[in-house]
Point group: C2
Chain length 328, copies 2
């Protein structure tokens, strides 16, 4: 009798009864992810991976949150230039800067690469990193997406937030490896994804250590690019920051190809994941063409390389962490 | 009776009864370190710091292990060039490379800055990071210090190993922020200090992502310097890798001044620590002059800035993790 009670108590407490990925449909994609995690965390399996080697890396734009119609960081940059131009209108000299100051998004995009770089540089530099992160966090607290009406930070993908949490519950360390700016991503990654600043790898401007006249030391963002964390830069960024080959890597474009190639080339169990944007109704549908998230080689080679391709329309029961206005 | 037994059991299990720093003498230095840690971990104190902000950064050479007569990494570089020259004698063209190939340490040192850079570059580049780390680990497993007869990795400081463990037991995250090469330090930091690769910040060469003819992707170390993690570079490296101002920083030379300045300028409780090499008998005595570990501004300003200065001879009951031969 007493043993039966104890056994019942043990069963009731078993965490395996809860679905770790409730926003994922019950497709093969979900099964493969769970099978991989169970294979590396089962101490009796020859695929077992010690806790210290359970490193998982995630691309951010179009992988953990949306990236249409343009990278959200670019919209932030335009809004920030408009803010800065209010205080000092003299910064809006070029056509691109004038367009940004007027928050004319289309005109900024039409100004070409040089114009975009000028706007991005003006928005991201000449300020200390702590102040910059505050300004990005302030923007993220209020700015809304033109189509969904959601805060941008509500356009994080609920299924990926669950996957990150599931991996951490299984003693993985989760990292973001983003082509976006490292300080911009850090402004919201801890709140949105549970990923602290030291687990964010990203593109970096040069920064300098400077002591103000009152003796206060700060890290100042400069306009020059220090490191581009994209394509072949992603495995390099991983080596710089983490120093260890991940066992799981997840991305959505050919900018992630090298990261997945590097990850899955390691010995032992490995999982490469590509998110395929197939859901024009609930999100956006795009892959082989466009100005963001272009995915060609990944789609062509995923099957031969054993990479898992998430079909958003098929595999996800829910898209955003936030609830779109038209769904209310 | 039964309650008394339970109480006795609880008391026996209480961790506070154990001395967290047994190799430290009972001086004010030890008291101040423990008082700081208790002040930031006591939830009822207004100096309490949440776990996520308990970041502690440590210089490595001369702070976590010895650095006399020269940085151990330079001895490794000379030994590695000698090894490489055995396989390919043609690499030893210059006077410095010839001296290194002959393991004539004094002649390499006498070859000047250009010669040292040539030897360091030859030892650290043209190889993938995983192979490089293996070769450094192999060297550290056998190479011995000329004066102590200890393995270099036994010349880590036992009191600092205890301090690192104590901080982690109190939910700090411990990082190395070293002027030494990031991959060299990673070769032994986990075993020696309990610090995993992703918590090592260091000087970096350029690295590139390259796929071999058989399809194997690797990170290759190139001869150019990418980032120098010294002086003002230390706070910059901290911002890049950690993204958060530490609350405790520890170093031994003016190369750490900016790191301590940056750390202790933050709001709330902060601790800056300088290790003063005062023990000619058990270790080495040096400060204001020399070719490694020069400490001037730090000694001059420590008191005014409230930084704690460890007097090695006075404050440490034991020096090395390993036992010197003459002590056997
Ligand atoms: Ca992406
Ligand atoms: Ca040092």
């Amino acid at each position: 009798m007493r043993l039966a009670l104890i056994a019942a108590g043990l069963l009731a407490a078993a965490p395996a009864l809860a679905d770790p990925l409730p926003s994922w449909n019950d497709t093969e994609t979900k099964s493969r992810i769970i099978a991989f995690v169970e294979s590396v965390t089962d101490p009796s399996a020859d695929t077992f991976v010690p806790v210290k080697d359970r490193i998982a890396t995630f691309d951010n734009d179009g992988n953990l949150w949306a990236e249409q119609p343009v990278y959200f960081q670019l919209i932030f940059a335009i809004d920030r230039v408009a803010e800065l131009a209010k205080a000092d209108p003299s910064i809006a000299q070029s056509e691109a800067m004038k367009a940004a100051a007027a928050q004319d998004y289309k005109a900024v995009l039409a100004s070409g690469e040089d114009g975009l770089i000028e706007v991005l540089a003006a928005a991201h530099t000449g300020v200390d990193t702590e102040t910059f992160i505050e300004s990005a966090a302030d923007w993220l607290a209020t700015a809304r997406h033109p189509q969904t009406g959601l805060l941008y930070k509500e356009m994080t993908y609920q299924p990926m937030v669950e996957l990150l949490r599931y991996l951490r519950d299984e003693d993985f360390q989760t990292f973001i490896v983003s082509g976006g700016g490292i300080h911009f991503v850090r402004a919201y990654a801890e709140e949105a994804y549970g990923i602290p600043p030291q687990n964010v790898v990203g593109t970096q401007t040069v920064t300098t250590y400077e002591t103000a006249e009152d003796g206060t030391p700060r890290i100042i963002k400069q306009p020059e690019i220090f490191f581009i964390d994209d394509k072949a830069g992603k495995p390099v960024g991983i080596d710089n920051h983490i120093g260890k080959r991940p066992i799981l890597a997840s991305g959505n474009s050919d900018g992630d190809f090298a990261m997945l190639e590097y990850t899955t080339a390691g010995e032992g169990p490995r999982l490469g994941i590509l998110l395929h944007h197939t859901d024009a109704e609930r999100e956006f549908a795009y892959d082989r063409e466009g100005h963001v998230g272009v995915l060609n080689r990944g789609l062509d080679e995923a099957e031969a390389r054993g990479w898992l391709v998430i079909d958003m329309a098929r595999d996800w029961g829910r898209i955003y962490t936030g609830k779109p206005k038209d769904a209310e």
